[in-house]
Symmetry: D2
Subunit: 336 residues, 4 copies
């Protein structure tokens, strides 16, 4: 059994990780930590686990941790994470990090978008971007996987075949995406107070969202040349899911049939990417690690639709998928 | 034109009062106040009024107020309100107070449930409970109307005919009610954070909700003898509305037809109480000052269902209705 | 008092029209019609009007109608409407038609997208497109106003200043829009069954939505040259509202300040178009006739956001606005 | 591996059964049937299973079935089920039946509430009511288990300790319950059309709901004497969950501590019944087979709150739990 520690277990991604690991046949929860004020019995912090998990969430004790776990899911926020990851690695654990701290290879870009100095550039250089469908081989041997952001996961899976194949103008991509509100985290705020968010919908992060450089970096790596992405996120009145609608300019005329063939080939062996015959629905992927994709042509543009659950394929599920790969397990354990 | 000041205009009941007054043909907004940190142009505090209201919400200045307004809608919270109401009355304004400070005639009950000393018992003695369908005559000549709580409004309108007629055991009433989340006010909290409240429903305030003594006091007044009410509130995943399902033991056998006749007679002339032929829906009263009621017999019990909008008939709409009565206007102005 | 007949009053736009007219000080409901199986007392068809409207919805009787009403709001579906509008005009009524039958000037385009032969091309030629902010003068003298579609209303108000000013490439417009489910009408269907639509979101009508040619026609008229629009609608889990996010290629570099100035000037005198300092929210316009707009620049594109209530500014409210204009009334009556 | 056939797999309980069985380590889907017009590849009927299940849903062929499966989950509607269950039993399968056809032991009561003649009274006599927490021993040796209704499951688990202990007046029980809309099944209807049900809540089935006699029968069996229950269901705007709030008259004074002890003892060994320290939330049990219960005393009444997922503990999960028991498997397989 792989023994898992969750560092920062008191948020939504912590809860979702717990839920998935409880169903995993070859991994188990070993140690759960959080800030002191968020600690307690799992069933008190997350009543949905009453009777399902007898662990406590405790303040992190590095000594205790090192003997207890083989891998850490590090669910800390951006900036905080890079203070802990080096210690976790030093303690001999594999690390799947949920924050952005190890995703952006260009430190200047990181420091611009996150407004903080990067304090662990050594590990940053070694970290692997944990999108298994694109970087499985690298993940296999890695000690530190930077689990992708939720929006980049949905968008990159949707455009990867186009970029790989060189079908589209790399400066033409518009990613219009809508997220469910679990993506905003567990801290209450006015915008996401129920009577304000219910029956509501709005755009945010115009031109400034931190997932934009992340998308561009990985898209550029796939394309083999710089890619410019106009990413516009929106918040929608539902719990889970990201629906991405992506508009691209093809370099030359392409048909729906060509696209279907391209995507089917590209993802033929991927368990968690499913190609649909019509636009996907976020509800169909809610609670699952699947990404549903539909690509077509409209008025000379290629339009690609993708749906994921932001907490699963966009966070905790993908982290478990990465962990499965690191340890040589069947990649779908706990997730299918 | 009646000139209205709203004291504490920055919450949901303030916004709803503004919305209604903007449609009122014989009253107008004259002065809006809030705590300094919640002040600003109305359209910045409440973007839904962009282009519809050019006023500012300002810190309260009693001198400015006294020349500007004929009546104050006092939307301050419990405990705070009784610090301001005496000054508003001294300044010559009529007052409709939204808090509980002037509802409970028994100071000991108030102090037990609200855990604070009552500091304005003189005005408490003079205040009239502002449920027009039951106390219209008293409201007419009043300077200070205690606007009823949202739950008591829905419950009392539902049981008043039974109590007045002496049809039910006064110790047998169970009020099972569900409120929309606007009833929880504008301050964000974990319970009402969208991803926690959405798709959720739960009971709260078991045996301790402050609207219980309010219901009992007024119900007792209607019945002419003490009434005991078991009131159990719940929170439901919608914005507006209170659905009350009320179970009572009749003193002797009663039929659905008798109940229909009783309620039809009792509310024949009431514009805002409508009797239905089937159980009412909260959506049918959302955004309106109406109360929909259906009473029937089931297995020897009388069961009454009522639906109101907690922000309108349960708060701001009823306040305007009271104001209309105080000033001798058509009671339905701004509300029909 | 203007006397209004609603033809096809049993759907959502009928109900919304009734709601607005009940608040109108210079117009009144005179005659409500529907298919025989959908007739009955208004309060039985729409319980939200219990006690607020004593009319019946009756099968249409042209003779009765002609003496009773000055204007018809024709809420019939596409294809059905053009069978009735000529009779309504012959009876001497002004007509505001909610269907698409009189919107598309090019009969071939209409017949392609609606898959039916146009049977009233004579009146089609005379009909005026009822977007008051752009065509107020034409509407004034008109007998037949084609009330715009909900999506075109939101999109055209958003891009009109850009097109009028010639700022953008006319082949570059992408309209990504999300509608609330009231836009799907009152007939139950599997897609919009509550447990299927709740917590869901998806795209539909890819490349085929009938509002696309409508947008292109009017946009072309504004621009003075053909405009190509890639319009992609989505359904979101809320009742009311359309949020449009529109991406355009400017002809030359343009700043956010320039855009703000352009939009402020363009809509300075428009009561129902409000310019925001941040992206608009559908909840802020729900239940109102307002359109909230924000335009900005992102990565070399102009991005415009607009929010309307699909049933009000996108249907019934705009129809009353058109009616007010036709009869020389204050344009905001019943709507402000 | 236990081979499972699902008869009537095209509805919500069929889908939920599929979801659970896909996670079951010792059982597998063997045969899925539905009416011809609802057949097709599982991933076409239920897109959420794309890539997760390669089976087809086919018209029922009894010959094919008999060799393929060890047990049938019969998800057919009331009245239809009793036409098929005898054949399934004759074919040598164990049967867990989701309909009401084998729940009500008194044929006259069945025929009154379901308005149809019972055509399989022989098997009715043998059927066991499948509430494992109360009837586990009987289920073990049974060929035919009548899976309980969703409302009875939530209500009976909540009151069983009180009835078993003889603590309450058996004529005093009021069950006030709210269900999510998945409980209404997959067929679209006007009441549950999204724009009608969203933001709505209402009571229904007043005095006539078919789960009332079911509750009374089993409650009477637990109590050892007839029990009268006033059951009032409501529909609430969420997908999954039943929240029951139950009011009972204790025979003599009882304290919250006594109740806590009673419930803790009664359910000490039950994996799926969890006792809470505060009122339960439907969201905490959504997607799980758990029942959360809280019992307390208010104003002389015992009030019990219970929350289940209507599709899991109220239907498919409980069916799998019953199947696990029948076959001597660990009762929590596929469910924990």
């Amino acid at each position: 059994m792989i023994r898992i520690a969750i560092i920062g277990a008191s948020g939504y991604t912590g809860a979702e990780s717990i839920r998935i690991i409880l169903q995993h046949s070859e991994a188990e929860l070993a140690y759960l930590t959080a800030l002191p004020e968020e600690c307690g019995a799992v069933e008190d912090v997350f009543p949905q686990f009453r009777g399902r998990c007898n662990l406590k969430i405790e303040p992190l004790d590095m000594e205790k941790l090192s003997g207890l776990a083989d891998v850490a899911l590090c669910c800390l926020p951006h900036k905080v994470s890079m203070g802990f990851v080096p210690k976790l690695l030093d303690a001999g654990l594999k690390v799947v990090d949920f924050s952005a701290d190890y995703r952006l290879k260009d430190v200047a870009v990181y420091e611009k978008f996150y407004q903080v100095k990067h304090t662990d550039t050594a590990n940053l250089a070694k970290a692997v971007f944990g999108l298994p469908e694109l970087f499985r081989e690298r993940i296999k041997g890695s000690d530190l996987v930077a689990n992708p952001g939720c929006y980049p996961t949905g968008a990159l899976l949707a455009v990867a075949p186009l970029l790989k194949e060189g079908l589209i103008e790399t400066g033409s991509i518009i990613v219009n995406a809508v997220t469910g509100i679990s993506g905003a985290g567990r801290n209450p705020s006015s915008k996401f107070h129920f009577p304000n968010m219910n029956e509501n919908m709005f755009a945010y992060g115009i031109g400034t969202h931190r997932h934009m450089p992340e998308m561009e970096q990985i898209a550029g790596e796939i394309a083999g040349s710089p890619v410019k992405i106009l990413f516009q996120p929106h918040a929608g009145p539902f719990d889970r899911g990201i629906l991405s609608t992506i508009y691209c300019q093809p370099k030359s005329k392409v048909s729906g049939e060509q696209l279907a063939r391209l995507y089917n080939d590209f993802y033929a062996k991927e368990p968690f990417v499913q190609l649909c015959k019509e636009p996907p629905s976020v509800k169909d992927v809610a609670g699952t690690n699947y990404c549903h994709i539909f690509a077509t042509c409209v008025k000379g543009k290629v339009v690609v639709f993708s749906a994921i659950d932001n907490l699963v394929k966009g966070a905790s599920g993908q982290a478990i998928q990465n962990m499965n790969i690191i340890f040589g397990l069947d990649e779908t354990l706990g997730l299918a």
